[in-house]
């Protein structure tokens, strides 16, 4: 969107990426580039392969094609769900101790995402969903990553007038010169937050700045039906 974003060096180059799980082709021939400082949202309907894309980029899933991260890039990952963690009697502090970082770095990140210090000894299972998501973001950021991969931030976690997760992400992006890849199906996020959007439904449906590439036609191809929410701007 901005001139600096398009001129920045690439941090991730994906060429002809395809993923097959079992006998099913989940992603087909995806190619795109992410530059330093970009916020790329990955948009698509349920089952379109968005999470699979993130997992392939992380190197957890086998894929065909080429995924090349810039040398020495550190990746922070915020998964969509962690179903088992609430079964463990784990405190927030102990969750951070699983990372190879100094305790002070964990405290600093908790403060940066707007969590009070006394939450450190609280059990993860006793956090509200909003607090839990913030803890996950702080955890991903505690190793000072260059890139944040975020799978489906929950919308509407702004109980009691706290800043929303999206405002938080926008602030962290500005403060820490982070590159972000965010999976979502929330169009408002795409327009408000991202520099680029990648519409995925097995293959790439559109890719580019949201105001340019999100047209009624591309959204219809993405979701297969009329989508009412579409922003049009002149000039």
């Amino acid at each position: 969107m901005s001139a600096t974003a398009t001129l920045a060096p690439p941090i991730l180059e994906v060429n002809d990426l395809s993923v097959t799980l079992g006998t099913q082709r989940v992603l087909e021939h995806l190619s795109f580039v992410v530059r330093r400082g970009d916020i790329l949202t990955v948009l698509g309907p349920n089952g379109a392969g968005k999470t699979v894309l993130l997992r392939a980029l992380l190197g957890v899933l086998p894929y065909e094609g080429r995924v090349s991260w810039a040398g020495g890039v550190r990746i922070g990952y915020v998964p969509q769900r962690l179903p088992y963690i609430k079964d463990m009697p784990m405190s927030v502090e102990e969750f951070f101790a699983l990372k190879r970082i100094k305790a002070a770095a964990g405290h600093e990140m908790l403060a940066a995402v707007g969590l009070r210090d006394e939450l450190r000894t609280r059990r993860i299972g006793n956090l509200s969903s909003g607090q839990f998501q913030r803890v996950l973001i702080a955890w991903a950021l505690a190793g000072h990553p260059d890139v944040l991969l975020f799978d489906e931030p929950t919308t509407g976690v702004d109980v009691g007038g706290e800043e929303t997760v999206y405002k938080l992400l926008a602030r962290l992006h500005d403060e820490r010169a982070l590159t972000m890849l965010i999976v979502t199906h929330d169009l408002a996020v795409v327009y408000d937050l991202s520099t680029n959007v990648l519409c995925v439904n097995k293959s790439s449906v559109c890719h580019g700045p949201p105001l340019t590439v999100l047209t009624p036609e591309s959204l219809r191809r993405l979701y297969g039906a009329e989508v009412k929410y579409w922003r049009h701007e002149h000039g």
Binding site: G22, V60, G76, E94, L98, R100
Partner: protein, 249 residues
């Protein structure tokens, strides 16, 4: 002798169990224990250590279930049921019936100095391996993706974890027999989770409950002459009931 090996095996079972419980894998030690029965039967027939007889069968069982899963795409639990029930059936074809109790509920009273030294060494191996990879395994339990993003070598860590499970099952049959191995890894962490405030207390508690219940079971066996294996499990169960009273959630 039997007290020393019981305490070490109990401690290793409880500690490793604290990892298995949070991965919802505590019950796998059950079928794995059952499928060692032909190995135990062979050991009894030819007069060698039951753990030595059991170990190759656990490893074989794990490999068989893994290979069948790759080939058939049937759910793991169905394959486990097929493998362990065939194994139990095979054992009863040639297990001398008067020896069945040893095979089913264990007989730690027979431990000699060589057995005891081997049991303690293997238990220490499990304790050290689990301790050194505890953080990584907890991270894998929470999410393999998260573990990968932190640079954990998931496959290597899981292999070590499976080896420890195979070892604890083989050791466990000595204390509680092929029928009750799940209890050795499931009950101590369940007790600890009821009372622990954090992971450190949970892991230490699992170890202590495992060691303590094994010690109490063996002492009760020496006092009463009743079989030690069931006594260990009943002490565990009693501790679990007591922990419910203190449970915090």
């Amino acid at each position: 002798m039997s007290l020393a090996s019981g305490v070490f095996i109990g401690a290793a079972g409880g500690y490793l169990g604290s990892l298995m419980l949070s991965r919802r894998m505590a019950l796998v030690a059950g079928p794995l224990g059952h499928l060692t029965l032909p190995g135990i039967a062979l050991a009894i027939l030819y007069g060698y250590d039951v753990s030595l007889g059991a170990f190759p069968f656990v490893v074989l069982g794990i490999v068989l279930i893994w290979a069948l899963e790759l080939r058939t795409k049937l759910p793991m639990e169905a394959l486990t049921a097929i493998v362990f029930s065939s194994s139990v059936a095979a054992a009863f074809l040639f297990l001398p019936i008067e020896q069945a109790e040893t095979a089913l509920v264990g007989d730690i009273g027979k431990a000699g100095p060589g057995d005891t030294a081997a049991s303690i060494t293997a238990s220490l191996f499990i304790l050290v391996a689990a301790k050194t990879s505890y953080t990584k395994l907890v991270l894998i339990n929470i999410s393999e993706d998260l573990a990968v993003s932190e640079g954990v070598h998931v496959r290597r860590t899981n292999l070590l974890y499976l080896l420890c499970i195979a070892l604890i099952v083989a050791l466990g049959v000595k204390v509680v027999g092929g029928l009750l191995t799940a209890a050795l890894v499931a009950i101590p962490p369940a007790v600890a989770r009821n009372v622990a405030r954090n992971m450190r207390q949970y892991a230490a508690g699992s170890l202590l409950v495992g060691a303590g219940s094994a010690a109490a079971g063996v002492v009760l066996f020496q006092l009463t002459g009743l079989p030690a294996g069931p006594l260990v499990i009943l002490v565990d169960a009693a501790l679990f009931l007591a922990s419910l009273a203190l449970a915090r959630r």
